[in-house]
């Protein structure tokens, strides 16, 4: 919960950006989609459980250094997003310790804080403020954001009139101008048309610099291999491998294929 402008001091390359030690995350969540007082009263005294414990992460150790681009891969439900939420301070860990040496900006979902009833212009401010920028920061960067989104005059139209591609483009543009020390991007690249996809990938490449750390979560293995210089592979909340991108991705591919063929051999 640190505003971006507070900690804009230079970082020496290769110094620690994020350190995750013995991280464990279990959380209690309600079984019902919507927990209600009615359900609670109806089952009063019957010993029915209303919550269950979810094991999201166990014994995860990761160090991210400045200048590094870390890719995080793994199948659905592997704990990738949970790990990102812990690093960005959205969910507190249950075990272990996470140390963050700099300002963090998260791009866990696109268009957070946007209000479809407002114009694109208003939403740039809303989204920017939600991401922790100050109004002055946004004023300064507004033209850059508008240019990057390529929306033209549509920026003054209400967002509910936008196509989903336009929505995603504006959302990515807001996030892309934030220049934090540590940037976490979760699956945000798979939006927009091919041209904009390439543009956002280029923007991410631009953001790679020696005084910044990037963490990229994606299923697009080719992109990860292209952009990252280190990859971790999570499976069911544990760290399976970390290291050289091509090696880890090869291991992951073998693992996924092995599982796929095993299940396809079964008689259903």
């Amino acid at each position: 919960m640190i505003s971006l402008s507070d900690y804009n001091h230079p970082h020496s390359p290769h110094s620690l950006a994020v350190s995750v030690k013995d991280l464990g995350l279990t959380y209690t969540t309600s079984i019902d989609k919507k927990p209600t007082l009615k359900a609670r009263l109806r089952t009063l005294g019957r010993g029915k459980k209303h919550t269950r414990v979810v094991n999201a992460l166990s014994d995860v150790n990761i160090d991210v250094h400045y200048g590094a681009v870390l890719g995080v891969i793994g199948s659905n439900g592997a704990g990738k997003s949970s790990l990102m939420r812990v690093i960005s301070g959205i969910v507190p860990p249950t075990k272990g310790r996470v140390e963050v040496y700099g300002s963090v900006s998260t791009l866990l979902a696109l268009g957070v804080g946007f209000n479809p009833a407002m114009t694109g212009r208003d939403n740039v401010y809303l989204g920017g403020l939600a991401a922790g920028m100050s109004r002055e920061d946004i004023d300064q960067n507004f033209d850059a954001i508008a240019d990057f989104s390529e929306l033209g005059e549509a920026i003054d139209a209400p967002m509910r009139t936008y196509s989903s591609g336009m929505y995603a483009r504006l959302a990515f543009s807001v996030a892309a101008v934030v220049e934090p020390d540590i940037l976490i991007i979760d699956e945000a690249l798979s939006t927009g048309d091919a041209k904009f996809k390439e543009k956002s990938l280029n923007r991410i490449k631009e953001l790679r610099s020696s005084d910044r750390a990037l963490i990229l979560v994606s299923h697009a293995l080719a992109t990860i291999e292209d952009v990252c210089n280190e990859v971790v592979w999570l499976n069911k909340g544990t760290l399976m491998a970390r290291g050289n991108p091509s090696e880890v991705i090869a291991q992951y591919r073998t693992f996924v294929n092995a599982r796929k063929s095993a299940s396809s051999d079964e008689d259903v």
């Binding site: 919960m1 640190i2 505003s3 900690y7 970082h11 110094s15 620690l16 350190s19 959380y27 209690t28 969540t29 309600s30 919507k34 927990p35 209600t36 007082l37 009615k38 609670r40 979810v54 939420r85 812990v86 690093i87 960005s88 301070g89 959205i90 969910v91 507190p92 860990p93 249950t94 075990k95 272990g96 310790r97 996470v98 140390e99 963050v100 040496y101 700099g102 300002s103 963090v104 998260t106 866990l108 979902a109 957070v112 804080g113 209000n115 009833a117 407002m118 208003d122 401010y125 809303l126 403020l129 939600a130 991401a131 922790g132 100050s134 109004r135």
Partner: protein, 275 residues
């Protein structure tokens, strides 16, 4: 090596470090303002007719209730109308804060799951919205006050502390109920009955002086009873409020605010996984 800027460790039950929390909250004040403004805009309050509606709506409401009083009791004096509008408008400040607050957390799911910020911001903006809606009604009341020739005196400055108590009460209720609604989602559907009961149990359609002593002693458990009574004394009759009335509402407001905030802050780190 640098010192870590932020450390996340398993949390113990209880409050987060308050100084950091308040500092971050203060740093986010522009977001609170912008967020509230956009919510208001969404309901068309950005347009001329939308704003006109903000004034018309309370006027129509007080008109309807005045009709009700007239039919039931046959009294139609100006003071009664002044009392009705003044207390009804203040009541709606608190009721709007409650109805806005109840879904503040549950509907802020996307924000909560994807950004880290002091969660208490969301119920606070619900109260800010209620305040935005209250301001035009204050102007309407000033006009009514003038039109029906209600008295003026220096005692009317008591309206300021009473208003602040009401705001604190609304904020406390908003924070408390937004948190309860995370755990029991049906609270939001029970809320209309709660606010309706509060409306009828408080001296709005009637005056506090017309209530029997027995009922009055029961009204101690109604947080709004003496608050609205004091408000009416001050802004309608231009008298000083009673010390008991002031203390009663202040103690209730502080209790609700402190209990609500404690409950909220000690639980807010849990919200992300509960939504």
């Amino acid at each position: 090596m640098d010192k870590p800027v932020v450390v996340y460790e398993p949390f113990r039950a209880g409050l987060p470090p308050m100084r950091d929390y308040l500092r971050t909250l203060w740093g986010r004040r522009t977001f609170i303002a912008e967020f509230s403004r956009s919510e208001l805009r969404e309901k068309n309050y950005g347009t001329v007719f939308g704003q006109l509606w903000l004034v018309l709506n309370p006027l129509l409401l007080s008109g309807v209730y005045f009709l009700l009083i007239y039919v039931i009791k046959g009294s139609n004096d100006a003071n009664r109308f002044g009392h009705l509008t003044a207390t009804l408008f203040l009541f709606y400040l608190i009721a709007n804060s409650l109805t806005g607050g109840v879904k503040a957390i549950t509907s802020g799911q996307r924000l909560i799951l994807n950004t880290s910020f002091p969660r208490v911001m969301l119920p606070i903006s619900a109260t800010v919205i209620a305040l935005f809606k209250f301001v035009p009604t204050l102007i309407v009341f000033a006009a009514i006050h003038l039109l029906i020739g209600l008295p003026y005196s220096w005692q009317m400055f008591w309206a300021i502390p009473i208003f602040l108590i009401a705001l604190l009460m609304g904020l406390g209720m908003s924070i408390l109920i937004s948190c309860i609604n995370v755990y029991f989602r049906d609270v939001s559907s029970m809320l209309p009955y709660l606010t309706r009961s509060l409306l009828y149990l408080s001296p709005i359609l009637y005056e506090a002086s017309s209530v029997s002593d027995e009922i009055k002693s029961l009204e101690i458990i109604n947080p709004l009873f003496y608050l609205l009574d004091s408000w009416s004394r001050v802004v309608v009759y231009a008298q000083a409020p009673t010390t008991f009335g002031l203390l009663h509402s202040l103690i209730w407001a502080l209790t609700i605010f402190i209990v609500g905030t404690y409950f909220f802050l000690s639980r807010e780190r849990d919200f992300a996984v509960r939504l």
